[in-house]
């Protein structure tokens, strides 16, 4: 039998429902707080721009892992969880000094009029924008390889250069000198390379990442770095909840051997050839046998060398350590410049 007491109660509450339209927001206190000893509530926030579905962003766990590392290793009281925006039209960018964007998280880099004015104002007010994978060697453009090959080109991808011509018509991206304080803002030099195989140690320390530097292009405003672009570095930041790296990274090493230069200069290749800019502005010509996978290179001094791909746990761990140190340098630099 029906309980009329309950029914009356029900009718009363129904009245309340029909009279009031409200939304209840579930608080997120079921998320376990991360242990961060000795720090107050985070007050430094990083804004991340993702066009479209945030859940499908590139290297989803990368930035939170890096910011957690910054929080742990430095005095910066940074929040590990970024604030997501969909475009530079969002005025939340004026509340926080740093924006991170992975180039591939925005499909179309033609900026709207409001984005142009917002970005200009953001930079003029001291803001800093980091474009990860904003350097994309030509053989990587337009495919997913750009997210897994950190190729040291020394020019920003044309779409990005074009976009910033609209923001600052009289400014251009320029290489960041390897002697710039940026590369020493927290970590200086390379991690201990003794764990690496002899065959690659020399290349890493002398050519690939000398003194812990990296191919970096910057756009300056009032003599300060306002926009920075690098080949993809986020692939080296992500950690699982168990503290393990979530990606596996190999090394691409340039190698030569006696007589090899001559052989390569006449060797057949089934793929395409591309140009890549070196730090001094001269051009390398890259040849591919398999599309998107550089096989060898013709260097401006007349040498030809092969790209060799090395994989091991030690290499992967080393690369992660380096990219994370570079990332820590990035945020220490931007929050303290």
């Amino acid at each position: 039998m029906i309980s009329y007491k309950r029914l009356i109660y029900l009718f009363c509450v129904f009245g309340f429902w029909t009279a009031t339209c409200f939304a209840v927001v579930e608080t997120s206190d079921d998320v376990e707080p991360i242990a961060m000893p000795g720090k107050e509530l985070p007050y430094l926030k990083v804004v991340q721009m993702v066009q479209g579905d945030v859940m499908r962003r590139q290297y989803a766990d990368a930035l939170p892992s890096l910011l957690q590392e910054v929080r742990t290793k430095t005095t910066l009281n940074v929040d590990p969880f970024p604030i997501y925006i969909e475009s530079f039209e969002d005025e939340v960018i004026f509340k926080h000094p740093v924006i991170y964007v992975n180039f591939a998280d925005r499909q179309d880099w033609s900026l709207s009029a409001k984005e142009i004015s917002n970005l200009k104002a953001f930079i003029e007010r001291g803001g800093f924008l980091f474009v990860d994978a904003g350097i994309n060697a030509s053989f990587l453009r337009g495919n997913q390889s750009a997210q897994s090959h950190s190729f040291a080109d020394w020019s920003v991808t044309p779409d990005l250069a074009e976009a910033f011509k609209n923001v600052f018509p009289d400014k251009r991206f320029e290489p960041l000198q390897r002697s710039d304080p940026f590369f020493k803002s927290f970590y200086a030099g390379l991690p201990d390379a003794s764990v690496l195989q002899e065959a690659i140690r020399e290349f890493i320390t002398n050519e690939k990442w000398p003194q812990g530097t990296f191919s970096t292009m910057v756009l300056r405003h009032d003599d300060r770095v306002a926009v920075m672009a690098m080949p993809i570095v986020a692939m080296g930041w992500g950690k699982s909840e168990f503290g393990q790296w979530t990606t596996r990274i190999g090394f691409r090493v340039r190698e030569g051997a006696e007589g090899l230069s001559e052989r390569l200069s006449e060797a057949a290749y089934a793929g395409e050839s591309y140009e890549a800019t070196r730090e001094d502005g001269r051009e390398d010509i890259i040849y591919c046998e398999t599309p998107g996978m550089p096989a060898w290179v013709s260097e401006p001094d007349g040498d030809w060398r092969v790209f060799r791909y090395y994989h091991s746990q030690e290499i992967s761990d080393y690369a992660h350590t380096f990219y994370t140190r570079l990332g820590v340098n990035l945020f220490v630099y931007t929050f303290s410049q």
Partner: protein, 501 residues
């Protein structure tokens, strides 16, 4: 006449020349004056015969860039070259190819595991996971016959010997990949590894010994293991001993109670308890849990053990559930999956259902689902007011196992939940229960603030197949035909009742 003949010859020559030029343009392999693939590989093969090491290295590197079978064969031949640099170059090339190595190439690579060059041994041992996976993929047998092929005996023997390699990185790699090798480890090798100079090798070897249940060797090595300089090894040793009963292990554990490191001593104490759990000892050790003398792993091991006590486990687990450690609460809760619903302690159940950890809440919900027949009216009545919507949503279905009248009373309560999804669920359940005043409730729900609830009410009213309800819906539609509700009524009436408004 002569002129005509010269003209013809000239024309013929011009035509031939034209054909020669055009045939050179269409040959894609000669583009840019380069060699063809075949010629490039042939030249590299010539270089492989050179006395110059550099030239052979260059040839291997060049061949590694091509996937043609001939090129791959050339690279494989470099794996057994007399010079270390050529072998290294060939090995790097094989590792570089990752998942596209042919089955024929795997054996020569694995045979390099005892190469005289330490760097080669490091490379092979660090890539063992990849090569063994490929081996198993190629030779794992299939449903139509065939059987799994073991590694050739000579490779197995090489693998065993390399566990005692002079290079520590090689030894670490070998211990890590032991289970993929599918080989037997002789006792003398295990004993040597358990006394290795490297902490990581000793630790991994002890773990390995435990996994292959070689407790005899572990006990035999007790004199060194119980005083090992590395704390983690002493803790693991005590833990392993706790998993095996026997006087020998008990005596060792009693000695370890005196360890200078409190964490090791506590592990020994816990291991003795795990060997022979008693209620009195469990009560005493509960204080260790409460006062954080156990580390996380020890605490969870303790909770696991008390669940096996014949009597008193419920009382102890209930105390653990009051802990402020989420992992402990979760571990204790998992113990109840085979037990009754916490002895009917509804107050505790409701507290857990309102736990701030969503892992605890989902565990409680699973427990309710599995023990649905034991869920009481009072418990669900409490869940109606649960703090988190995931719990309330799951609780709607729990009413199915209650008496009809009790279930309906609770469903009416769910019907006033702040979450629209829960109100929709409650409406559905009232329909399933054939609630007497369902039509009244549905008519009221047409005025709900949420459109999803309104739409579900329309659907259920149509499904009642009562002409009076259809009439009522038409009336509601006519009041506001252009409203969202009006559109829903029009659409659903057309699709479900064949009435076009």
């Amino acid at each position: 006449m002569k002129i005509r003949i010269y003209q013809c010859i000239g024309l013929w020559l011009f035509t031939i020349m034209g054909q020669l030029v055009s045939s050179a343009q269409v040959n894609p392999e000669l583009e840019g004056g380069r060699l063809s693939h075949m010629d490039t590989i042939e030249r590299a093969y010539e270089d492989l015969k050179s006395d110059s090491v550099d030239t052979r290295v260059g040839a291997i590197i060049l061949l590694s860039k091509y996937n043609d079978p001939d090129a791959v064969s050339g690279v494989i031949s470099g794996l057994v070259d007399g010079h270390v640099r050529v072998r290294r170059a060939a090995l790097v090339s094989m590792v570089e190819k990752q998942g596209v190595i042919s089955p024929q190439a795997i054996e020569p690579v694995l045979r390099m595991i005892d190469d005289e060059d330490a760097e080669i041994r490091r490379m092979v041992s660090s890539s063992l996971g990849m090569f063994l996976n490929l081996w198993n993929n190629y030779f794992s047998g299939n449903a139509f016959g065939g059987s799994r092929k073991n590694l050739p005996m000579d490779i197995q023997q090489k693998m065993v010997s390399v566990f005692l390699d002079e290079d520590v990185v090689v030894r670490r790699n070998m211990v890590s990949y032991f289970f993929q090798l599918n080989i037997q480890m002789p006792d003398y090798v295990l004993e040597r590894l358990l006394t290795d100079v490297d902490d990581r090798v000793r630790l991994e070897s002890l773990r390995l010994a435990y996994r292959i249940s070689n407790i005899d060797t572990v006990v035999k090595m007790s004199d060194t293991l119980k005083v090992d300089s590395y704390q983690a090894i002493r803790i693991m040793f005590a833990h392993i001993l706790g998993s095996f009963s026997g006087n020998a292990s008990r005596e060792i554990l009693e000695e370890m109670l005196e360890d200078k490191d409190p964490e090791v001593a506590v592990e020994a104490e816990l291991a003795l308890f795990r060997q022979e759990p008693t209620l009195a000892e469990a009560r005493r050790l509960l204080n260790y849990l409460v006062s954080n003398r156990f580390n996380q792993e020890q605490g969870e091991s303790y909770i696991e053990t008390i669940a096996y006590l014949r009597t008193g486990s419920l009382e102890l687990l209930q105390q653990v559930l009051a802990s402020d450690n989420t992992e402990y609460r979760l571990a204790a809760l998992r113990r109840f999956t085979q037990e009754a619903l916490l002895g009917g302690n509804e107050e505790l159940l409701l507290k857990l259902a309102n736990d701030s950890s969503n892992r605890i809440r989902s565990q409680v919900i699973n427990l309710f689902r599995m023990r649905r027949e034991e869920v009481s009216f009072d418990l669900v009545d409490g869940l109606v007011l649960a703090k988190y919507s995931d719990v309330r949503e799951s609780s709607v279905m729990l009413t199915r196992s209650l008496e009809k009248e009790d279930a309906e009373l609770l469903l009416l309560d769910f019907l006033i939940d702040e979450e629209a999804a829960i109100r929709v669920l409650a409406l559905n359940e009232l329909k399933v229960s054939e609630y007497e005043d369902l039509s009244k409730i549905l008519r009221l729900s047409l005025k709900d603030a949420d459109f999803q609830v309104q739409r579900q009410a329309v659907l259920l009213l149509i499904n009642l197949n009562d002409p009076r309800e259809l009439e009522y819906l038409i009336t509601v539609y006519n009041e506001e035909p252009r409203s969202r509700l009006g559109s829903a009524i029009k659409s659903l009436m057309s699709r479900k009742a064949g009435v076009n408004l």
